[in-house]
């Protein structure tokens, strides 16, 4: 799985963009999107998903169940 941003809730404040250790977040059409191919759920970097921790609107950065859970490489 990866994280995704619920577009309708995003205030486009940009706080998540520089916090992402994978550079997976970018501005798109007036809001922000997470590239699921790059997102590692911050595993291997931080204890908490950074986009979730910094986002000012609760339940806006959420797990995208349509992707398999990220597996840290051994």
């Amino acid at each position: 799985m990866a994280y995704k941003i619920i577009t309708s809730q995003c205030t486009a404040c940009s706080a998540c963009e520089p916090e992402c250790p994978n550079n997976a977040i970018r501005a798109k059409d007036g809001t922000y999107v997470i590239d699921p191919k790059k997102c590692t759920e911050c595993i291997g970097y931080f204890d908490d998903a950074q986009c979730v921790a910094v986002c000012p609107v609760d339940n806006t950065c959420v797990i995208d169940a349509s992707y398999p859970r990220y597996q840290a490489r051994a």
Binding site: T11, C13, E19, V54
Partner: protein, 519 residues
């Protein structure tokens, strides 16, 4: 974004120079309290007052740092900093409305390049615009690249414009050297508490070292960083204003302690603002029914802190994209679309000429007030009254009652006339719509005033005001405010003495909480 490596270097510098700086701060004792009537707000005495020349240079045309300057000089904010690193219970970043005027609200965000163009466009159109601030809509120092890029661009193209920023302080210690390097000489920190026990009820969380920290721990880190940042600014010779939001039942009594804490660390000016809280704002405080203070509660707290240091009372709690004199908002004239279409010629010479004219008028105003004060000197009376004034700037009574978006409030006593605040009101004159209701709103907002000074007033509101015990005064139309107020007060005292008038203590007044609708 953490720049921890730079911190230790700054730390050493602080230790070396702090004593000396604190000494300097102690010597100038805040700002502008010049003897007798010197309880005036910052720098508002006869010009420079007892301010050291270098401080006076910094504040004399900064509308937020000098009450006296705010009648003449304008400021603008550019909304280049959307991200924030803390959550406050009085802020909701989802709510965004062009008709709403309060901190954290903007209509459109700008890139640093758009912001630089906007500053030039505004500076060319409004020659008395002297200050550019970055105040959000998030925290400028949570967006350091955008914030400092904007300062860099502006300092190249418009070097005469003063730069300032306002921050929650969490990342301030990491950026003081950069702030200094860009010649930002005014920094505002919002400090609502110095006790984490109090802070936990104001801040649900902070984002700190890659974690969301909550509760008392969050407030403890925040207050430590704020105090450290303030001390570093003082050591760097950067003027610091402290903003505090007065939240009845949560930090209202505690703000006296905050006042002492920031004063002892060299803050120049303290601005205690009323909480703006309404359910439609969607903030935690708005939704849980937390009330803001009344006008008299706010004034009492400001008065009790004033012995300690200079209080700012002319703050309009403006938007993060406000443009114009405090209390007016011309941001709609400068949307990105309009700016990009403008052919901007930055003419520093004509700006200078205009500002010299302002200085001249300002001196005239001070002289007029001083003259009137001399006559008041003989008065021996304990009577104090408040009066409301309709003005559109330049320190004159030059606004029609029905056109006033706000009233400035002066306290009159044997000491003279002292600016003590302002009251935002609905536009009364809205083409016949809801006029009676608006008049009620105005009366509630200035209910603690004995008189209202206007350039002109219609018959109906005149009667209603009189009925409410507020004397409508138009005899000083287009005259200087303070001079007129003192003249009125002398006459008031004379009438009380002769028995022609009975002095009555007025009641409390309401601070507007709802949305401010742009006319």
């Amino acid at each position: 974004m953490q720049q921890a490596s730079g911190l230790s270097g700054i730390g050493i510098k602080v230790v070396q120079s702090l004593d000396q700086v604190m000494q300097n701060v102690a010597e100038h004792k805040g700002c502008g309290t010049s003897g007798g009537s010197g309880k005036a707000s910052c720098g508002s005495a006869a010009g420079q007052g007892d301010l050291p020349p270098e401080i006076w240079e910094k504040v004399k045309n900064h509308p937020c740092y000098s009450e006296e300057a705010h009648h003449h000089y304008a400021r603008m904010h550019v909304a280049v900093a959307p991200a924030c690193n803390i959550q406050c219970n009085y802020c909701n970043r989802k709510y965004d409305c062009a008709n709403e005027s309060r901190p954290g609200v903007v209509s459109e965000k700008l890139t640093p390049e758009q912001a630089a163009k906007k500053v030039l466009a505004v500076a060319s159109t409004i020659p008395q615009m002297t200050v550019l601030g970055i105040a959000g809509p998030g925290d400028p120092l949570a967006n350091p690249e955008k914030t400092f890029k904007t300062f860099e661009l502006i300092s190249k193209t418009a070097p005469d414009i003063k730069l300032c920023l306002s921050t929650n302080g969490l990342s301030l210690p990491d950026h003081v050297d950069t702030i200094k390097r860009f010649n930002v000489d005014h920094v505002t920190i919002t400090i609502n508490m110095v006790d984490p026990e109090v802070g936990q009820h104001i801040y649900p969380w902070i984002f700190w070292k890659h974690k969301r920290v909550t509760g008392i721990e969050a407030a403890r880190i925040l207050t430590e960083r704020q105090m450290q940042g303030l001390e570093m600014l003082t050591a760097a010779g950067i003027l610091c204003k402290v903003n505090s939001v007065m939240i009845p039942g949560i930090n209202d009594h505690h703000l006296v302690e905050v006042n002492r804490a920031v004063k002892s660390r060299g803050a120049f000016l303290h601005n205690i603002m009323p909480l703006i809280s309404a359910p439609e704002h969607g903030t935690v405080f708005g939704l849980n029914g937390q009330r803001g203070p009344s006008a008299q509660e706010l004034k009492a707290l400001q008065d009790s802190c004033e012995g300690e240091m200079n209080m700012m009372r002319h703050c309009r709690q403006c938007r993060a994209d406000a443009v114009g004199l405090l209390g007016e908002d011309r941001s709609a004239e400068f949307t990105t679309e309009k700016i990009m279409a403008m052919d901007v010629q930055y003419d520093a010479t004509s700006r200078k000429a205009y500002q010299e004219q302002v200085e001249h008028e300002r001196q005239e105003k001070v002289a007029a007030k001083t003259e009137e004060l001399v006559e008041l000197a003989g008065e021996d009376s304990d009577i104090t009254i408040l009066v409301a004034v309709a003005t559109k700037g330049s320190g004159r009574i030059n606004e029609h009652f029905g056109h006033a978006k706000e009233f400035q409030v002066y306290e009159l006593s044997a000491m003279g006339a002292k600016f003590v605040g302002h009251r935002r009101v609905d536009l009364y004159c809205q083409g016949g719509y809801g006029e009676e209701e608006s008049l009620d709103t105005i009366i509630r907002a200035i209910n603690d005033c004995s008189a209202v000074f206007v350039a002109k007033i219609g018959g109906c509101p005149r009667d209603e005001l009189t009925k409410a015990g507020i004397d409508p005064v138009d005899q000083f139309a287009h005259e200087f405010i303070e001079q007129s107020a003192i003249a009125y007060f002398k006459e008031y005292l004379r009438k009380v003495k002769s028995g022609a008038l009975v002095h009555v203590e007025k009641g409390d007044a309401a601070i507007r909480q709802g949305a401010y609708v742009v006319a």
